[in-house]
Structures are given as structure tokens and as C-alpha cells.
């Protein structure tokens, strides 16, 4: 189910030259904010939770997920070089699974690690906040990667749709319509974090059993369906 060559190619596509710039800028920004806030406000659980929840989980993780998830397969389909990969005797679901592993690893590396570092800087893991949000970022990385990898195989405008989901659905509708929060990767991962953190530091609108079921369900179904899409991929011309 795992092909080292495909993995190596995907790593190089994701972390090559300028493309990695965004991936590096975001974590650096988060840590810089954490340092600035610590200097401003001192160690405070509420503030730490605000920064990690408001910036790291709400903005940074989805964006990195979009870049890594769609970037793992989108450009190859876009420029047609996927045919050289598909022509090799590698099973299509294996390609998807390998790319998913790589996307998850990259997303985790660039989102969960800086979240943990920022959490330590903000309040030295008081009330388990740093650990809780890191776990949320780890869990969200998996679901986001699977979801956006699927989008990459379905649409040529995967990045735009991924961003619409992350920004409009989770951020805008999520804050206005309470029901929309039930269908949000962010809330599912926060509900896992809620279990870890101390009382009242992290809140989620979704119960843990439902959140876990949905997280696993979305990841598995998205990966399976992406494999199916790749089996019958139609290469289209530009536009």
C-alpha cells in the first residue's frame, strides 16, 4: 500500500523551492505572534487558548492542509504528468494512499509542531493547552489531507474549493449558523482536544463519539473515493 518512489516524488513536489515558502512562512508567523503575545500579555491560559484556537487551528491548519492536500496531486493532474505515473504498474489506490501519507506528514510537520512550540511559548503547557491543541492539529491534519486530496482528484479548481470550504464554510457559516459547526473538521478536532485539555479551556460543539466517528468516516471515504476517481481519471485539456 506504500510506494517509496511515489512518496519521494510527492515530497519533492511539495517541498520544492518556492512552493515550500508558504509552508515555512505560516509556522514562523505563528511562533512570532506567540513570542509577541507572551511579551505583551505574559502567560495566560485564556490568551493562549485564543491564539491557538483562533489563529493556529482556525486559519493555519486548514490553509496548510489545502496546500499540502491539493498540492500532492493537483499540479500533476493539471500539467498532465500524472499519465507517466499512472502508466507504471502501481495500483491507483496505492498511489492515493502514498500521497495521503505524505500530505498528512507534511501537514503535521508544518502545523502541529509549530502549534506545540507556540503553545509552550505562550504558557508553558499550562492546563495541557499546548498538548490539547497539538492533538487537535494532528487529528485535523489527517482529515484535511484526505479531504483536500480527494478534491484534488475531483476538480481542477481544487484549491479554490478547498479554500471556500475552509474560509467560507468553517469560518463564516460556522460562526453564524450553529448547525454548520457539526459538519466542520475544525470542530471535530477541537472535540478531541476538549477531552485532553483542562476544564473549560477548549470548547467544541460536537460530542466526542460523533466527532471521532465522523473524522474516521470522512478520512476513509475520501481516500477510497479518491482512489476510485484516479482509476477512471479523465485527462482534460486546459479549461
Amino acid at each position: 500500500m506504500y510506494d517509496p518512489t511515489v512518496a519521494r516524488l510527492t515530497y519533492r513536489a511539495l517541498l520544492g523551492r518556492r512552493r515550500a515558502a508558504i509552508l515555512f512562512v505560516l509556522p514562523v508567523l505563528l511562533v512570532a505572534i506567540a513570542v509577541a503575545v507572551r511579551a505583551f500579555a505574559g502567560a495566560d491560559d485564556g490568551v493562549a487558548s485564543g491564539v491557538l484556537g483562533g489563529f493556529a487551528i482556525a486559519t493555519m491548519v486548514p490553509l496548510i492542509g489545502v496546500i499540502a492536500g491539493t498540492g500532492a496531486i493537483g499540479p500533476e493532474i493539471d500539467d498532465g504528468s500524472i499519465v507517466y505515473l499512472l502508466a507504471k504498474p502501481v495500483r491507483r489506490p496505492t498511489i492515493i494512499f502514498t500521497k495521503l501519507i505524505v500530505a498528512v506528514a507534511v501537514t503535521m510537520l508544518f502545523s502541529a509542531l509549530p502549534t506545540f512550540v507556540a503553545g509552550l511559548i505562550l504558557n508553558g503547557n499550562g492546563g495541557q493547552i499546548a498538548v490539547a491543541y497539538t492533538i487537535a492539529a494532528l487529528v485535523a491534519s489527517i482529515a484535511y489531507s484526505a479531504l483536500f486530496l480527494l478534491l484534488g482528484t475531483v476538480s481542477r479548481h481544487a484549491v479554490v474549493f478547498g479554500l471556500v470550504y475552509a474560509l467560507v464554510w468553517e469560518a463564516l457559516f460556522g460562526s453564524l449558523v450553529p448547525g454548520a459547526r457539526t459538519l466542520s473538521v475544525q470542530q471535530w478536532s477541537l472535540s478531541v482536544a476538549e477531552k485532553v485539555a483542562g476544564e473549560g479551556q477548549v470548547t467544541s460543539d460536537v460530542g466526542l463519539p460523533l466527532a471521532t466517528a465522523l473524522l474516521i468516516g470522512v478520512t476513509v471515504v475520501a481516500t477510497w473515493y479518491a482512489g476510485q476517481k484516479l482509476r477512471a481519471l479523465k485527462l482534460a485539456g486546459e479549461e
Binding site: 483562533g54 489563529f55 491539493t70 479554490v160 474560509l167 479549461e239
Partner: protein, 302 residues
């Protein structure tokens, strides 16, 4: 058409035939015409006109959302007899719907410049009588005009609706004028930033992500830090933090000069003195993005 004339000297086996090519002696439309064409094609392309049906969906949808929100606001204003003005200020509209504007820039700026770079059609443009400055100006102006249409159209709807509802003409006209100045500034600023980021990435997908990152991440970072500054009673810092993201820059300028109420935490917008700093930063960013674009196209694809 004669084929026997123009015989070259030399042996019988080698001859040059005149096959009747004629030089063009019609009207030459020149550089200004080429620039205008590039502008109008880019502007149409931003809304998917002249492109496939699929590429019309997103820009039209975003434009529709903007106008729909404006229509709903007008409907609310008309249905509520006690109101004497619109439910929101003209200047607030673009701030509330910044996600939609951001998505529009992110999806359309890369389609405007990235594909020319990726398919190496830039050298073809420059084989026409246009210069580098014409290309950059035309693309910049087209993107800014597209954004002005996207942000100005709902304001026009609001204004017409307000006049139909017989709100005070003087007040509404003043507010509308202020709103239009503010969205014009926003359009130029966003177009510049979007095109710079898009021109640096020949891949469309990464261009989209990079533009949205510049717009959203800076806003997310600034508003998070501002909220913390507000909680920790350092209100002075809120004003200066606003300098670090495009949408808060616009917010600051219109709060200082265009009678808007700031969306900063606690409504702590900049006063006139800080407003000048905001305006200088906005103008510097616009000039800077123009300079970067000029530099980017100095030797591209050649």
C-alpha cells in the same frame, strides 16, 4: 500573379519564385490599441466572459453573492418603516464581505497572469507593439477595474435602494461617495497585491493559495493580536497593529478620512494623524507592487 519573374542568377536548377506575397498597407492600430485590447480582454476574462462556461461559474457566483447581500439589505430597509437609513454604512459593506472579495482576487489574479507565464505566451505579447509598461498597466488596471465592479456594484444597488426608499438624499449621497472612494482604494490595493503574488508563481493552484494566504493569514494574525491587545488594555497598540494587513489598512484609512466606524476591537480606529500613516502605507504598497511587477517582467520567458 506571375511566377516566372524574379529569377535568381546562377544555374537553371535554382530559382527564386515570386509567389505574390504583398506587404500590409492597411491602417496600423498601434500601441494604444493593443494596450486597450489587452485591458478589455483581461477585464472580461476576470468575469469569465469569453472563456468557457466552467470558468464563468466562480466569478459570477461571487459577484452574485455580493449583489444578493446588497439586495437583502435594501429589502430589509424598505420593509422596516421605522428605518431612516440603511442597516449598514456604505463603507462597512466591503469589510463585512472581505472573504468574498479575497476569494475573487485569489481566483482571478492567477488566471490573469499565471497562465501567460506558464504557457510562455508573454513573449508573444511583447512581439506586438506593446512595451513592458503597457502589459503591466493593462493587467493592473483590468484587475483593479474588475474589483471595482465587484465592490462598487453592490454599493450602487444600496444607493439606488436607499433613494427609492426615500432616505435623506444628502446623507445617502455623501455616504455613497465615501464608500466608492474607499472601495476604489481597496480595489487598487488588492489588485496590486494579488497580481504580484500571482506573477511570482506560474502554477495557478499555488497562486490561488498564495494570494489567499497573503490576504487571510495577515488578517487572521492581525485581528488575533488586536483582540489580545484589547483584552490586556493596550488600546494604543491596536491602532498600529492595523498597519499589517490589507483589509485593516483600508479599514483604518476609511475610519480616519471617510467617516466609517472601525471594525477594530472596541472601535478604536486611527485618528487623522495615524490615518495619514495608513494612507502612506497603502500608497506605498500600491507603488511597490507596481514596481515589483515591472521588475518581474523585465526579463521573463525570454
Amino acid at each position: 500573379m506571375s511566377t516566372e519573374t524574379g529569377t535568381a542568377t546562377g544555374s537553371d536548377t535554382s530559382r527564386i519564385h515570386n509567389i505574390g506575397y504583398r506587404s500590409y498597407d492597411g491602417v496600423r492600430l498601434g500601441r494604444a490599441y493593443a494596450r486597450r485590447s489587452l485591458y478589455s480582454q483581461s477585464l472580461r476574462g476576470s468575469f469569465g466572459l469569453g472563456r468557457s462556461a466552467k470558468s464563468k461559474v466562480l466569478p459570477m457566483l461571487l459577484c452574485g453573492v455580493m449583489c444578493m447581500v446588497a439586495l437583502i439589505l435594501v429589502a430589509v430597509a424598505m420593509a422596516t418603516p421605522t428605518l431612516t437609513k440603511l442597516p449598514i454604512k456604505y463603507t462597512d459593506f466591503a469589510i463585512y464581505l472581505q472573504a468574498v472579495i479575497g476569494l475573487f482576487v485569489a481566483s482571478q489574479a492567477p488566471q490573469s497572469v499565471s497562465r501567460d507565464l506558464r504557457f510562455k505566451s508573454v513573449p508573444l505579447y511583447f512581439s506586438r507593439p506593446i512595451e513592458r509598461i503597457d502589459y503591466v498597466l493593462a493587467k493592473f488596471a483590468a484587475m483593479a477595474s474588475a474589483l471595482l465592479i465587484l465592490t462598487g456594484l453592490p454599493l450602487v444597488i444600496l444607493y439606488v435602494g436607499a433613494l427609492l426608499a426615500k432616505f435623506d438624499f444628502g446623507d445617502q449621497t455623501k455616504g455613497f461617495g465615501q464608500g466608492m472612494v474607499s472601495v476604489a482604494l481597496l480595489s487598487v490595493l488588492f489588485a496590486g497585491l494579488g497580481l504580484v503574488v500571482a506573477a511570482l508563481t506560474p502554477r495557478r493552484g499555488f497562486g490561488v493559495a498564495a494570494v489567499i494566504a497573503v490576504l487571510t493569514i495577515t488578517y487572521g494574525a492581525v485581528s488575533t493580536v488586536q483582540a489580545i491587545a484589547w483584552e490586556t488594555d493596550s488600546a494604543g497598540a491596536i491602532t498600529w497593529l492595523g498597519l499589517f494587513s490589507p483589509i485593516t489598512l483600508i479599514d483604518g484609512v476609511q475610519t480616519a478620512f471617510l467617516g466609517a466606524s472601525s471594525a477594530f476591537p472596541g472601535g478604536e480606529g486611527p485618528g487623522a494623524a495615524a490615518g495619514v500613516a495608513y494612507l502612506i502605507v497603502v500608497l506605498a504598497l500600491v507603488a511597490g507592487s507596481y514596481a515589483v511587477l515591472m521588475r518581474r517582467y523585465r526579463r521573463v520567458g525570454l
